[in-house]
C-alpha cells in the first residue's frame, strides 16, 4: 500500500510569487507528523494542495493512493487554518452535517456527533447554536467535525491556535486517540512543545522549501550539545579542548557558570573524564539537551525574519 501522503517536486506559484518550491516528502501510515515553519512558509498552501483545493503549478501529489483527494474525501479529515462554523446551527448539527457530507448516514452522524462532544468535554453545549460558543469551543467543535467520520488521514492546519493550555492538552489527546486507532495525522503548528510531545516525525519548511525532514531526535541532534560547568580551573581545563567549539558565560545568568558548546558528535562524558583527570573540583556539570524550539529558530530563524520583512 502506498503512503497516505506523497508529494513529489511540488511547486506552487501565485502569479510571479513562488509560495512552494520543489517540495517532496512522504508520510507513512500510522505516523503523527508535525508540519512546521515560520509565517508565510507555505504550510497552508501545501495543505490546500494536498486536499485538492488548490492545484500545484508543477509536481505531483498522491493522497491515500489517488491524485485527487476528493475521490477519497470520506477517508480524509480536514481542519482548515481559518476556522468557522454556521452561526445558526447547533454544535451537534454542524458536526453531523460535515460528517454527512463525507458520506455518513444522517442518524449515525448525529449519534457520533453527540458522543464526540460528550467525550471531549462539550457535552453541555450539544444544542447550543454555534454563535453562542466561545472561539476556543467553536474550534473544538470544528476539529470534532473534521474527524467525526473516522478518517484514515487527518490533516489539521494549526489545531492549537486559540486554545487555552487545558484545551491544548485536550487537542493533544484527540491527536493521540486518532493515532491509537492506527490512523495518520499531519498537523501544522508554531508551538514546538506540541510537536515535541506528540510527533514522531517533523517536516520543517521555510520560504517554500523543506529545510528539515526527520524524527524529533534527529532534529535535536542538529544543534550542538551544551554543557554547563562550574568549578575552580574548569575553564582552563576544558575551554581549549578540540571537542569544544565555544565557551561563554552561561546564558541562564548563574554566577560563574560556563557554557561549553560541543562539536558535533562529541561526547559530554569525555569532558567529565578530562575534568576528573585534571583534578577540577566540579560544582556544576549539566548536559543541556536542545529543545525543538531552539532547533526551529536555528533552522529557519533567518528566513523567518526575511519573510516577515518581505
Amino acid at each position: 500500500m502506498s503512503d497516505p501522503i506523497e508529494l513529489r517536486n511540488v511547486t506552487k506559484n501565485f502569479g510571479d510569487f513562488r509560495a512552494v518550491d520543489d517540495v517532496s516528502f512522504t508520510v507513512p501510515v500510522g505516523t503523527v507528523c508535525g508540519f512546521l515553519g515560520p509565517n508565510g512558509a507555505g504550510k497552508t498552501t501545501c495543505i490546500r494542495m494536498m486536499l485538492d483545493i488548490l492545484r500545484p503549478t508543477s509536481g505531483s501529489i498522491s493522497i491515500l493512493g489517488t491524485p485527487r483527494a476528493l475521490d477519497v474525501r470520506e477517508r480524509i479529515g480536514y481542519l482548515p487554518e481559518e476556522k468557522g462554523l454556521y452561526k445558526k446551527m447547533t454544535a451537534t448539527a454542524v458536526i453531523a452535517y460535515f460528517a454527512m457530507l463525507k458520506g455518513i448516514a444522517p442518524a449515525v452522524a448525529k449519534k457520533t456527533a453527540r458522543e464526540l462532544l460528550e467525550r471531549y468535554g462539550l457535552g453541555d453545549f450539544q444544542n447550543h447554536k454555534c454563535e453562542a460558543l466561545s472561539k476556543g469551543m467553536g474550534q473544538k467543535v470544528q476539529v470534532l467535525a473534521s474527524i467525526a467520520h473516522d478518517p484514515d488521514l487527518v490533516i489539521l492546519d494549526e489545531p492549537f491556535s486559540g486554545l487555552d493550555p487545558v484545551n491544548q492538552g485536550v487537542m493533544e489527546e484527540v491527536i493521540r486517540d486518532i493515532r491509537a486507532r492506527g490512523k495518520t495525522v499531519l498537523f501544522s503548528t508554531h508551538v514546538m512543545s506540541h510537536a515535541e510531545r506528540i510527533c514522531e516525525r517533523i517536516i520543517v519548511i521555510a520560504a517554500g522549501r523543506i529545510v528539515f525532514d526527520g524524527s524529533v531526535e534527529r532534529a535535536k541532534a542538529l544543534l550542538p550539545t551544551i554543557v554547563r560547568v562550574r568549578g575552580t580551573g574548569a575553564e582552563a581545563a576544558l575551554a581549549g579542548l578540540t571537542a569544544v567549539t565555544e565557551a561563554l558565560p552561561s546564558s541562564d545568568g548563574r554566577e560563574g557558570v560556563l557554557e561549553l558548546r560541543l562539536r558535533e558528535g562529541a561526547d559530554p562524558q569525555e569532558l567529565l573524564k578530562i575534568a576528573f583527570e585534571q583534578g577540577v573540583a566540579l560544582e556544576v556539570f549539566e548536559v543541556v539537551d536542545p529543545n525543538l524550539h531552539e532547533v526551529f529558530v536555528h533552522l529557519v530563524g533567518e528566513k523567518a525574519r526575511e519573510a516577515a520583512f518581505r
Binding site: R48, L54, A69, R73, E82, G84, K87, Y97, G103, A145
Partner: protein, 537 residues
C-alpha cells in the same frame, strides 16, 4: 449526487428557519387580503360627506351646480344600492348561471354584446368587480336621476328586487352637501373679502358652523355673474386637490349650458345636435391568431392580454428574493470561512449546484405557499366575489401560460442564481456585494418598467428586442405570452436563454472556485477576466 443533495437539503432547512422566509411567506397573502378587504372597507366606511359653500353671483347658474351635487349624491346611492342587491342576489345569480350553463367569461361576452346593441360602448365593464360589472350610474340617463319622482320610483323598483330575507338597505352618507355662509360673513362682501374670511375654514384651522353642528369645510365655489362668458372663470377653493369630482361635474354642466345657449342664439335645435353627436362608428376586432370562426376579440381576450402582468410580477419578486438569499448565504459561508471545509468534501461545482438547488426549493416552497394561501383566502372569503375572481382567473390562465411560468421561473432563477452566487463568492461582506449589485439592479429594473406597456404592444420592436437579451427574456417573454408571439421567437429566445444559463454557470463556477478562497478586497473587473483565463485556482 449525494453531496449536492445534502448541501441543498441544509440550505433549504436553514433558510426555511429564517425570519426573512416567513416574512416573505406571510407578506404576500397579507397584501392580497388587504387588496380584497380594503376597497370594501373603504366603501363601507365611506368617504364622509363633504361640505361646500356656493357663492352664486349669477342669476340661475347656481341651480345647475346644485343639480350636479344632487346627481353625485344619487349616483353614490345607486352604487351602494347596486352592490347591496348584487350581494343579496349572488346566490340566485350563480344558480341562474349554472342553470343556463354559462360561465363568467360568457357572461362578460353577453354583457358586452348587450352594451353594443345599446350603442353604449362608452360604458366600461370592470370584470374584476362581480357586484358591479358596469356602473348603473353610467347606464341610467341623467335626466331620470335628476327627476325626483322618477328617482323615487326607480329606488322602489330596485329594492323590490331584493329577496325577502335580504338585509335592509341603508342609504350611504351624502357625497356632497351645500352649506350656507355663516352669519358673520355677509354675501354682500366682495369675493376677495369672503375668500379671506373663509380661508381658515378651508385650511382646516377652524371648524365651520352649519346651524348647530360643527363641520369641516371641503370647498367653496364662486360662480361669477357672467360665468358662461369665455373670459370669466369659476373660483374653486379647496385644500383637497385629489377629489375633483365636484368641480369636474360642475364645469361639465356649465359648459353644456353654455353650448345650449349658443345653439339657440344661432338658431340650431339642440336636440338635433344631440342626435348628431350620438353618431358613432364602431368596430369589430379580430385576432388572426385565434381559431377559425372564433377570431372575434372579446373582453376576455383583452383581459388575457394583461393577465401575464401578474405572472411577470410574481416571477420578478420570486427570482430576486431567492437569488438575494443565495447571495447572502454565500457571503456568510465565505466570511465565516466555512467554504474551505466544504471544499474538502465536495467540488466547487457540487457546492454551487447544491446551494442553487436548495435555495430554488426554498423559492418553490414560497410560491406554493403563496398559491396555497391565495386559494385559502378565496375559499375563506367564499363570498360570491371570491369564486367569481377565481373563475375569471381560471378562464384566463391557459396551460401554455402556466407552462411558460414554470419554464421562465426555472431558467430565470438559475440565470440570476449563478450570477449572484458568483458575486457572493468574491465578496466578504454584503456591503462589498452592493458595489457589484448596483449595476445589476439597474438591469433588473427594466422588466418592471416595461411590464405594463408591453401588453399594449406585445410584438413591437421594443418587446422583441428585449426578448432576445437573456437578462430580460424570462420576464418579457412571460409578458408577451398571451399575444402568441411568433414560434421562432419563443424557441429562439428560450434557446439563447438556456445557453446563457450554461455560460453563466461556467463563468460563475470558475469565479466561485477562485473567489471563495480569496480574502481581502474584492477583485477589479480586469482581475476577474484574468481568473477566467487561468486554468487552475
Amino acid at each position: 449526487m449525494m453531496q449536492i443533495y445534502r448541501v441543498a437539503m441544509r440550505e433549504y432547512l436553514e433558510n426555511v428557519k429564517t425570519k426573512g422566509f416567513w416574512i416573505g411567506i406571510l407578506l404576500f397573502p397579507g397584501m392580497v387580503w388587504m387588496l380584497i378587504e380594503l376597497p370594501q372597507f373603504l366603501e363601507e366606511r365611506g368617504i364622509p360627506t363633504r361640505h361646500v359653500v356656493i357663492i352664486d353671483r349669477s342669476e340661475d347658474l347656481g341651480e345647475i351646480a346644485r343639480q350636479r351635487i344632487t346627481l353625485l349624491n344619487r349616483k353614490k346611492v345607486l352604487t351602494a344600492l347596486q352592490t347591496h342587491i348584487s350581494k343579496a342576489t349572488a346566490e340566485l345569480r350563480e344558480q341562474m348561471m349554472e342553470d343556463q350553463e354559462i360561465d363568467t367569461g360568457q357572461l362578460l361576452d353577453q354583457l358586452e354584446q348587450g352594451l353594443e346593441q345599446l350603442s353604449r360602448s362608452d360604458v366600461e365593464i370592470n370584470p374584476f368587480s362581480p357586484n358591479q360589472l358596469v356602473k348603473l350610474g353610467d347606464l341610467i340617463p341623467e335626466q331620470m336621476l335628476l327627476n325626483d319622482a322618477q328617482w323615487a320610483q326607480f329606488k322602489k323598483l330596485a329594492l323590490s328586487q331584493l329577496p325577502a330575507d335580504a338585509p335592509p338597505f341603508t342609504e350611504p352618507d351624502l357625497r356632497f352637501r351645500e352649506v350656507p355662509l355663516i352669519d358673520d360673513i355677509s354675501l354682500q362682501n366682495s369675493n376677495e373679502e369672503i375668500e379671506k374670511q373663509l380661508k381658515p375654514y378651508l385650511r382646516g384651522d377652524k371648524l365651520y358652523k352649519n346651524g348647530d353642528e360643527e363641520i369641516e369645510l371641503f370647498a367653496m365655489v364662486i360662480i361669477p355673474a357672467n360665468a358662461l362668458d369665455p373670459d370669466q372663470d369659476l373660483r374653486f377653493w379647496s385644500s383637497n386637490l385629489a377629489d375633483t369630482d365636484l368641480l369636474d361635474t360642475i364645469l361639465a354642466a356649465l359648459s353644456e349650458e353654455a353650448r345650449e345657449r349658443e345653439y339657440s342664439r344661432r338658431g340650431i335645435a339642440s336636440d338635433v345636435v344631440a342626435e348628431v353627436a350620438s353618431l358613432r362608428v364602431r368596430s369589430v376586432n379580430f385576432d388572426p391568431n385565434k381559431g377559425a370562426g372564433d377570431e372575434k376579440v372579446g373582453i376576455r381576450d383583452k383581459i388575457r392580454q394583461y393577465a401575464p402582468i401578474g405572472f411577470v410580477y410574481m416571477l420578478w419578486v420570486a427570482i430576486f428574493s431567492i437569488a438575494q438569499m443565495l447571495l447572502n448565504n454565500t457571503i456568510e459561508e465565505k466570511s465565516n470561512r466555512i467554504i474551505e471545509v466544504l471544499l474538502s468534501s465536495l467540488s466547487t461545482n457540487q457546492l454551487l449546484m447544491g446551494k442553487v438547488l436548495g435555495v430554488a426549493a426554498v423559492g418553490v416552497t414560497m410560491q406554493l405557499a403563496w398559491i396555497g394561501s391565495l386559494i385559502g383566502i378565496l375559499n375563506l372569503k367564499a363570498g360570491p366575489s371570491a369564486t367569481w375572481v377565481a373563475d375569471l382567473i381560471a378562464a384566463v390562465i391557459t396551460p401554455e401560460l402556466l407552462l411558460g411560468f414554470v419554464f421562465y421561473f426555472l431558467a430565470g432563477y438559475f440565470f440570476y442564481a449563478f450570477l449572484f452566487a458568483g458575486i457572493g463568492s468574491i465578496c466578504n461582506t454584503i456591503k462589498e456585494a452592493q458595489n457589484y449589485m448596483a449595476p445589476l439592479m439597474l438591469l433588473m429594473m427594466v422588466p418592471l418598467a416595461t411590464m405594463t406597456f408591453i401588453p399594449s404592444e406585445p410584438n413591437g420592436t421594443i418587446a422583441t428586442t428585449l426578448s432576445w437579451i437573456p437578462f430580460w427574456t424570462p420576464f418579457v417573454m412571460m409578458n408577451r405570452m398571451a399575444a402568441s408571439p411568433p414560434e421562432f421567437e419563443i424557441y429562439g429566445t428560450a434557446l439563447v436563454l438556456l445557453v446563457s444559463v450554461g455560460l453563466v454557470f461556467l463563468v460563475s463556477a470558475r469565479i466561485f472556485r477562485i473567489g471563495v478562497l480569496r480574502t481581502g478586497q474584492p477583485p477589479k473587473l480586469l482581475e476577474l477576466l484574468g481568473w477566467l483565463k487561468s486554468r487552475t485556482p
